[in-house]
Symmetry: C2
Subunit: 318 residues, 2 copies
């Protein structure tokens, strides 16, 4: 077997091949056609359910958290936050969750309860409730998986990745970069903001930043078949102080951390050019660029120079 | 910290403590009250969704399958089967699934695709479809988690664990024991049987045998606040040939394997005494005992002697 072509190097390649397989599934019932298209968005539709969407995220000790450093309740909170952020990405109100765990057998029952307590306490702040799950133990590091389900608000559609149009403005909901210094554990998923945006501003496309701005905005560009130009001066304003701290450790520019670091769980929001500017600012959004017809993702410097941005950041298969 | 009282010895103890916590959750919306009661059944209700239920199962390499021996497609099939069997347990038609994986980084993309292909091929035989998921990799053994959603057939309610009444007859849907010899990988979840039973025979209670007949029937007895008497002569008829083969290796009686081995994924079906006997036999059910008012789980020998059956079998926390 050709090692190079078969090694799991690229998560995107794997998802593409799985999606290809799943799209070729025999159609069990015509009404389920809507379920097909959702593969590749932040959440998938539950067919014929009156608008329910669901998604799942799996977190592993040593990869997404470190139990040697982080408390189990904090770890449970993060597991839930990541799933809540999927809901924010689509402007879906999170309503119910399942929590499945494979617990390292060195954990006490108190530790296991702490994971669930952290997850539940986080969920309840968003009006969401854990309604079931699965508990297992083994001799390996702990794995926590949260499945979440929710709905857009009455009369509204979930916001997809695929609706960005040429000329639309690209915004982010907060400061970016360096979340690995600790912020990734205590993120506040932007659920309320997403719901308010969907209620009053009809975003053309939206995604949460889990793998990094360049990769996640890249998903919008892929789905919407367009390009984007980001403005360097605007981006400088959304560099998180953590990105600057991390830059001092890595020797890379803070802007690179803002562009490529994962797990900010802020929103990338694509709004029509006509969007009401003061309102958008009141919501804490910063305009960082606009959608172009083609050309992938590019960075516009203040001297007018335009350079391509290579999407990179957190991919599970590297 | 007192090691004895805090070590994760008992899955049941953990689930009790988690459930206690979750039942004490602040009520976010009154309509969600229905979601609370489902914790502890095979599936949980998605609140206010027109009758959707969902559940999640997590399988780990070295615990629920062995990738050194079993092909990845077979492993994917098993992961889906376990979730489909949850649907069978409640007479719910499986309609959609999410598949989350933490893949050992020694896997190739082909291996990862094979897991999903196995899961999907199994699902499609039951009219169910994978609509999304999450892919991750790490240096530890592979974990596969399937979340499944479905509904009872129109006009019918899901079958709970809690409806068994004194005098009801207890049936099983096939032969039991020794599935660890290989059968656990290729089980055929009893979905169609469960749906037919619910359509025509209104089972009072039902569960699938995942942890072992004694433990899983024990869940029905706990939920229904009753006891049960099993008939040894009847039980002898449902001992699987694998249980006899395994008994030759373990030196334990085959009946013990039938009573306590996990992962048969057959149904335990509690029917009113008046159930139409020929029909029940035509469906392949075997009557193995009846529900009693109290007294836990007991075994009636052919000489009339009655002895208690200690529930034991596969518990993740031992």
């Amino acid at each position: 077997m050709d090692k190079n072509s078969h090694n799991p190097k690229s998560e995107r390649e794997l998802i593409r091949r799985i999606a290809e397989d799943l799209i070729n599934q025999p159609e069990p019932e015509p009404e389920q056609a809507e379920a097909r298209v959702a593969f590749g968005d932040d959440m998938a539709g539950i067919p014929d359910s009156g608008g329910w969407l669901w998604s799942v995220d799996m977190l592993m000790d040593g990869v997404d958290f470190r139990s040697a450093e982080h408390g189990w309740e904090t770890i449970g909170r993060k597991a839930m936050s990541v799933s809540l952020s999927d809901c924010a990405a689509m402007a879906v109100r999170p309503l119910a969750a399942l929590c499945a765990v494979a617990l390292c057998d060195s954990l006490t029952i108190d530790d296991a309860v702490a994971i669930h307590r952290g997850a539940q306490s986080c969920a309840s702040e968003y009006g969401c409730r854990i309604v079931g799950g699965d508990t297992n133990s083994w001799k390996k590091p702990t794995v926590v998986s949260v499945t979440i389900a929710g709905r857009a608000e009455p009369g509204l559609a979930p916001v997809r990745r695929s609706g960005a149009c040429v000329g639309d403005e690209i915004h982010v909901s907060g400061l970016l970069g360096g979340s690995i210094l600790g912020r990734h554990l205590t993120v506040r998923p932007r659920v309320e903001l997403a719901l308010e945006l969907n209620r009053h501003h009809t975003p053309h496309a939206m995604i949460d930043i889990s793998d990094g701005l360049s990769i996640d905005l890249g998903h919008i560009l892929d789905s919407s078949a367009c390009g984007a130009e980001l403005n360097k001066d605007a981006l400088d304003k959304v560099v998180h102080p953590d990105a600057r701290r991390l830059a001092r450790q890595t020797g890379r520019p803070p802007l690179e951390h803002a562009l490529h670091d994962g797990e900010d769980f802020e929103l990338v929001v694509v709004l029509a050019q006509a969007a009401d500017k003061p309102t958008v600012e009141r919501l804490g959004l910063t305009r960082i660029g606009h959608i172009t017809k083609t050309g992938g993702l590019k960075l516009r410097h203040s001297d007018g120079k335009l350079e391509p941005i290579e999407p990179r950041g957190w991919e599970h298969f590297r």
